[in-house]
Amino acid sequence: MGTEGSQVQSLPGMQVHPLKKNLYEVAIGPAHPGSGHMRILVRVEGDVMVEVDPDIGFVHRTMEKLSEGRDWMKNIPLFERMAILDACNVTLPYVEAVEKLLDVDPPERAKYLRTLLCEINRVASHLYGFGIFGVFLGHSTLYMWAFGDREVFVELAERLTGARLTHTYPMFGGVRRDMPDDFGQHVRKAAAYMRRRLDEYAKIFLLNPNIRSRLEGVGVVSKSRAVELGLAGPNVRASGVRYDVRLAEPYEAYDRVDFEIPIYEEGDSLARAWQRVEEIKQSLSIMEQAVDWLEKHPREGFVHEKFWKTAPPIYKKVYAGEVPYAGKYRVKMIPLYASLKVPAGRSFARTESAHGEITYYVESDGKDVPYRVRLVSGSYRNVIAFKYVMPGHRLADLPAIYGSFDYFPPEWDR
């Protein structure tokens, strides 16, 4: 199998096998310090990649099968485990799909609260992606900065929901709780801080000549190629495609807030990084608009009447702020959720998560558990790019391309 006399050294997390003269197979992962739980089998000729096979599934947790044996409600905390850094965005389409089957439309206030948390999650997730991207490129300053600044948004989410990451915030017909009184000022402070920091990120990372020389013109995906491969989220917009679920099929309050869909035409790794910076700016603006709306409007229901009318009278006093319970407005879970049965039917819902579009197909046969749930996340739609985009590049470009797609293994393996 090996070539005569060839001695190839394997690095930790990266094994090299010679196949024939000048053709080697490099197994990157599955426990690569940067990539997480994923293996990429690369065949290199010299140091040029000729064949790339993403071998995924190392953190598969059988979520689709498990969901068929759990109550409708209990699937929300199950699904958010697939990407805890983006928990609201990844569970929202499931909630929406079930709401379509229940024929329930959440109240306006709940829609704005969901929009608010979705954008907080999106910023936190993009910063997480930046941090990992920094590690890949050996830029540990960005890693420290991004993870430190992500904490600001994780804390915002904690103030709103009570949990740092797995908030289980959207529920059928509404959200789990209303926002605290002083939440608006924290959001505005965080937004102002992050805008300033993004300029500093640009100076130290995106405009840095070292980083630019590694990213510019690397991993170029043309517009038609991006669509053909079905890429999702910021990656497809960085190739010049004007597609965003928030625009194509507006959900929650996105048709009432004012925002732009940033687009980059270059389609290379640098454009994908800039794309995320621009999206963070838009998210900050949406967050501010959402809290403005929430502060101006009275606290009138955060859950649909169908569920709220089954709540005990004490809940209504707590929500009105008359009775303090572990803080103001903190209502416990409404009992009807535990015995929920969903009418038979099939529905499909999609939202724009930080890693890309996420879709759920939900089928019910009228029981207390789903008949079939199919979920496809943005990370999965992007993983096919490794197979088709990487060949032709040098092996040293692999981390740059991998990091630029913001691929998050647990989200696809689920």
Binding site: K65, E228, L229, A248, E249, Y361, V376
Partner: protein, 174 residues
């Protein structure tokens, strides 16, 4: 919304050249078009030519009572903004004992990995797929077709297995 939803149904009928009685259902969140497996590739090619440029999700659903497996391709458009608000589910039902469906990954490259996933979880054989092998699972587990309804999830009990024989007897695969 309802008039435009009706509009997409009419548009699909004309794209696919369907007879008025052919099943096109307006469901919650998408429009489902059912075709027989023989005309699946033809229908997919027509949809692609009309602007449905990518597949969002490939789903298989197991119906043991009807002895069928239904495969649904949810397709939509990114480039054509008049279509990107809609999702079309191109569905076909095949026999559960020998589920063979023509692969659409030569038409929609975006379906390639998801067809592999449906192959390992349901045993659906996609004819003409360039690289049909398990994606997430190991071959031993994939051979059991874990997402079919007759694969029962056995809960582990709370007690530690004290002997090796006891441990191996509870394993569900080798």
């Amino acid at each position: 919304m309802s008039t435009s939803a009706q509009g997409i149904v009419e548009r699909l009928r004309s794209i696919l050249g369907l007879a008025p009685e052919a099943p096109v259902e307006q469901l919650k969140g998408y429009v489902e078009v059912s075709v027989d497996p023989a005309s699946l590739r033809d229908a997919a090619a027509k949809l692609k030519a009309a602007g449905f440029d990518h597949v969002k999700s490939v789903t298989a659903v197991d119906y043991p009572d009807k002895k069928q497996i239904k495969v649904i391709y949810h397709a939509s458009s990114m480039l054509d903004e008049s279509l990107s608000g809609y999702v079309v589910g191109l569905a076909t039902s095949v026999d559960r004992d020998n589920p063979t469906v023509p692969s659409l990954s030569s038409i929609w490259v975006s379906a390639e990995f998801q067809e592999r996933e449906m192959y390992e979880f349901f045993g659906v054989n996609f004819e003409g797929h360039p690289d049909l092998r398990p994606l997430l699972l190991t071959p031993d587990v994939a051979a059991q077709r874990p997402l079919r309804k007759d694969f029962k999830v056995v809960e582990e009990d709370d007690y530690l297995k004290s002997t090796y024989d006891e441990y191996t007897s509870t394993k569900r695969w080798v």
